[in-house]
Symmetry: C2
Subunit: 274 residues, 2 copies
């Protein structure tokens, strides 16, 4: 998917919501018997009208081993078949030496058919570059994450006072364009989006941490939105596990719809809908 | 596996070799028809006498999707059944927010039954801690990797001239003991092992990059060995793909045996066999 196509979807659906497909069996209704695919299909069908992206996190599938990995694959195939305009992010936070990252890239883009993969920057350029240059595909690089531990290393400063995450934002722009790369910036750090936007004015940002993790959508929009929206805001638990009863999909739709309405207003307020 | 058990295995087999199970279908004999499990079984049987650890890298399985993930699982089960003393490392370089890392830890330790997992430190303490504290299990944290891109961020220095990878080594010692955590330090940076050993004198180090990536075993031992050996040195391509013919397992055994003999000499020279 190109950047323009993504922006067109955002305008058409008046939404920049990504639904995180992180199914926790302990929070699923017992009637599903732990069937990740059945759960995901119901969530996808219920929330697709309000979302422009889905983001399954691999951890929630690998916990079940090969059976879980198959459910992950089938989930992506289901979305692709029924909602071809949906942007699909494999939230994998991969990254390895060059020949290994090439395998990961082939797995997620060729075998799986996802549109994007999240990648960790610690190993540097040759661990990230193999994910770049696949036609219409994206690498989403961790910059400033939403968790408490993000302060341990991401905020470490060099002799000029520049924190590590800023080095990640600036250096990585030599490896890929804003048509190939996005960045993860946590919603719990909304005020820092202003600084992020100075460094990457035109890139899309994937913003997790709204909802269960406490980030505010209004704050994220105020500090992070650009003329092409430039934001994909993710909510996982706050939507998919809002109810653990048999009404989980219905409640998920309500939650997603409420966020979409708030997003539609923000898009209008900031003049994005044109 | 405890640290003492690992050391006992090293002394008994006079080896600190880890064989990287990174099967590349393009380099496998055509007669195997791309069957990762059949390839791995042959490699494991051929090299087990000379190794104390096996390290499958997930990328080489995920490239085949759920089918590949099943081959990964079956490979670990095969090693566990036939070589119960072998230390099995899931080379996954995972790391995510706390509740997600907990899922990864459960997947690799409980579902899969591996002894250790490699983890990327970028997201900090609460992304690493969920992997710590599983009885007899290990987290192997990336510190200084063997690839060229390691200089991009790992070598960035703070105002006092301390590089990021040293911060990783020092901070992470608050999260886990040397009975719970090891570090990845690339063999291509052998001379830097001296500095690493000042910071983590008692930890085991997982050292990739010997062989295909150009690192020297003698250099690694000189700078990195401690009184309990303290090294697990990995070779992947240099062993498993030394031949792409039907004699691949036989040639792999020869390569592994040659490294084991070199390791036996080093262990004797440094007085480790006692």
């Amino acid at each position: 998917m190109t950047k323009q196509e993504l922006f067109d979807n955002i305008k058409r659906k008046q939404s920049f919501l990504c639904v995180g497909l992180d199914p926790d069996v302990a929070k699923m209704p017992a009637s599903l018997g732990g069937d990740l695919l059945a759960f995901n299909r119901a969530i996808v069908d219920a929330t697709a009208p309000y979302a422009i992206a889905f983001k399954p996190n691999l951890a929630f599938y690998e916990v079940q081993g090969a059976r879980g990995y198959a459910a992950f694959e089938q989930t992506v195939a289901y979305i692709r078949e029924h909602y071809p305009d949906m942007f699909i992010i494999a939230d994998a936070k991969r990254g390895d030496i060059g020949n290994t990252s090439r395998m990961y890239a082939s797995g997620v883009f060729d075998t799986l058919g996802a549109d994007a993969i999240t990648v960790a920057p610690y190993m540097g350029s040759d661990s990230v570059s193999p994910f770049v240059g696949h036609d219409g595909k994206w690498v989403i690089l961790l910059a400033l994450t939403s968790n408490a531990g993000s302060s341990d290393f991401q905020m470490l400063t060099d002799g000029q006072g520049t924190p590590l995450y800023e080095h990640v934002l600036t250096q990585s722009q030599r490896w890929a364009t804003d048509e190939q790369m996005m960045y993860v910036v946590g919603a719990t750090k909304a005020e820092m989006l202003t600084r992020v936007r100075e460094l990457v004015p035109d890139h899309f940002l994937l913003v997790p941490g709204v909802g269960a993790q406490g980030g505010s959508l209004d704050e994220v929009a105020r500090h992070g939105m650009n003329r092409q929206c430039g934001l994909i805001v993710n909510s996982s638990r706050g939507i998919i596990h809002a109810s653990s009863g048999d009404d989980f999909a219905q409640v998920a739709a309500q939650k997603a719809s409420a966020i979409q309405q708030q997003m539609a207003k923000l898009l209008a307020d900031y003049g994005i809908l044109g």
